[in-house]
């Protein structure tokens, strides 16, 4: 291994908190302990990433308080160091980490609030594509409709929760002066999160609309998406649902699935 490679691996381990001993010898003290100099970088690594997570998860931070958030963030950072330089992409796995964190188990809705915050963050950093117009769509023969596969706006995502995470989120925004009262008997919600103009918005959908849109977003054909919804809601009006999807500018593209799928 080259001297540079060896040094960077050793410095990397020290910054990640794995091992410091192997690099201390390579550093000038210049009047201080070499370990004290390394500690500056370790400290910056932890604090800057904790701040980055706090910027993405402000409501989670408010729900558990700053000290607990810092503890949880530290555990997450040690378990899942960033792999890319864009920090708005760091922390997608934090909700799952919170779900596995025994000390947070009592706050049952915390992982889903975190999932909502991640969806908001992702929507905020997604491009907005030109929506497909009815004229673009008119060229598709009726007979091909069942095979349509849509590409939706990149900012769009869907979240179903057993908890009213939308109300919990609203009640605990950092700019609120008091912490909102929580009613866990409020029931669950099915949310659609998206960019609208220059903001991110979310709203509740009913079960059929949610299942339909989520199936389309997951890449299912129109036929498969409709079949899934109709199985549980025979009154579902597919034509109206499709019109709404297009009317809201959420369809960014479409293609036809293969007529003879192998499986």
């Amino acid at each position: 291994m080259s001297a540079l490679r060896e040094l960077q691996c050793a410095v990397g381990r020290a910054v990640l908190g794995l091992d410091e001993a192997s690099i201390v010898e390579a550093i000038h003290g210049d009047g201080l302990e070499p370990a004290a100099r390394l500690a500056i970088y370790r400290h910056h690594y932890l604090t800057s990433l904790t701040e980055a997570l706090k910027a993405i998860y402000p409501v989670v931070c408010r729900l558990v308080d700053e000290r607990f958030f810092a503890y949880a963030a530290r555990g997450f950072i040690d378990k899942a160091p960033p792999r890319e330089p864009c920090l708005f992409e760091y922390g997608v796995a934090f909700p799952d980490f919170l779900a596995e964190l025994p000390a947070a188990a009592a706050v049952v809705y915390l992982p889903d609030v975190a999932r909502l915050e991640w969806a908001i963050n992702a929507a905020l950093h997604a491009p907005a594509e030109a929506p497909v117009s009815r004229a673009d769509f008119a060229q598709v023969p009726m007979a091909d409709y069942p095979r349509l596969i849509f590409r939706l706006q990149p900012s769009l995502s869907f979240l179903a929760s057993h908890w009213a995470v939308d109300r919990i989120w609203q009640a605990n925004r950092p700019e609120n002066e008091t912490v909102g009262r929580l009613d866990l008997d409020d029931g669950g919600c099915r949310l659609e999160i998206r960019q609208q103009d220059d903001a991110v918005v979310f709203r509740r959908l009913d079960a059929a609309e949610f299942d339909f849109r989520k199936a389309i977003a997951d890449g299912k054909s129109l036929e498969a998406a409709a079949a899934g919804v109709l199985a549980s809601d025979p009154a579902f009006d597919l034509a109206k649902a499709l019109h709404r999807l297009m009317g809201e500018g959420l369809i960014a593209g479409f293609q036809l699935s293969s007529p003879d799928p192998i499986a």
Partner: protein, 292 residues
């Protein structure tokens, strides 16, 4: 290799610019401040979305400079193709007046340390950084200004002084330099070198931009460490060093950076005005000396 370029003839050499951060974005879009230009970290906008569209609106009123923090030019992991491609898209979209990055490394074994880590300065690291700068300049079809880092440590096996390392990098790649005056002061105090001698060792004609920022003095044991936190006004000794840089190097596009405990926009504009006044005085002095 990219041809050499005379950075004394730059389109931004009028008024100083400011680092544009998310906190001030809406205000700057609504009413462009009286500064020469703005600088952004492209990494904050690489996904797209409302913030990038806001930067495009700012770009209609003010020149924009892209100051990258994510290329990790000194990393033995190699350059990230994905990051280079995203930076290229950003350049196509914003047509920045300047493009800069750092003499540092951030990624190792696939992990990103979210910091500008210091390099050992050796023939080996010079060859690696030069290869990466050359590759990035070819791919981005732009000359990159490389910034001198602020450092809290140095390695025993470094053999080349940092300023000489940067000069060699300019010779090998045709890159330019971003002279961060605060970084020179901070590193000088932390590592015990003379900032004035460091300035004199930089190739003046390659310097295409100055950075100015505040730092924090942190007591450690019996001594102290200066932390380059960009969280306050430019310190008096850094203004003094900048006066010396202006006399030695001449006027260049100059930027006020502020990244933590971010104050109202008016404070940044006032700092930019101070930099303008200093540059005007330094140039007048130089012209007076020449005329005499």
């Amino acid at each position: 290799m990219t041809p050499q370029c005379d950075f004394t003839q730059m389109p931004l050499s009028g008024k100083a610019g400011i680092g544009l951060r998310a906190q001030h974005l809406a205000e700057v879009v609504a009413s462009p401040p009286a500064v020469g230009w703005v600088e952004i970290h492209p990494e904050n906008y690489m996904g797209g979305g409302p913030a990038l569209r806001a930067i495009e609106r700012v770009r209609a009123d003010l020149p924009v400079s892209l100051h990258g923090v994510g290329l990790s030019l000194g990393s033995s992991d190699g350059l990230s193709e994905r990051h280079l491609a995203r930076l290229g898209e950003m350049i196509d979209r914003l047509q920045p007046a300047l493009l800069s990055e750092h003499l540092s490394w951030s990624a190792v074994e696939g992990k990103y340390l979210n910091d500008l880590m210091p390099l050992p300065y050796t023939e080996e690291s010079l060859a690696l950084v030069a290869a990466h700068v050359g590759l990035a300049q070819d791919r981005l079809r732009r000359r990159i200004l490389i910034e001198n880092p602020s450092s809290y440590l140095r390695y025993r096996h470094s053999t080349i002084p940092e300023a000489e390392f940067l000069a060699a990098l300019v010779r090998l790649t045709g890159c330019g330099l971003l002279c961060d005056v605060n970084n020179i002061y901070v590193s000088g105090r932390n590592l015990g070198f003379d900032p004035a001698a460091y300035l004199a060792a930089l190739p003046a004609e390659a310097i295409g931009e100055f950075h100015l920022a505040g730092h924090h003095v942190n007591p450690v044991g019996e001594g102290e460490i200066l932390i380059d936190d960009h969280g306050s006004e430019v310190a008096e000794p850094v203004w003094a060093l900048h006066r010396r840089a202006l006399a030695l190097i001449g006027a260049r596009p100059t930027l006020i950076e502020w990244d933590c405990r971010i104050p109202p926009l008016t404070v940044l504009i006032a700092e930019a005005g101070k930099a303008d006044a200093l540059a005007a005085a330094a140039l007048k002095e130089r012209d007076d000396v020449r005329a005499a």
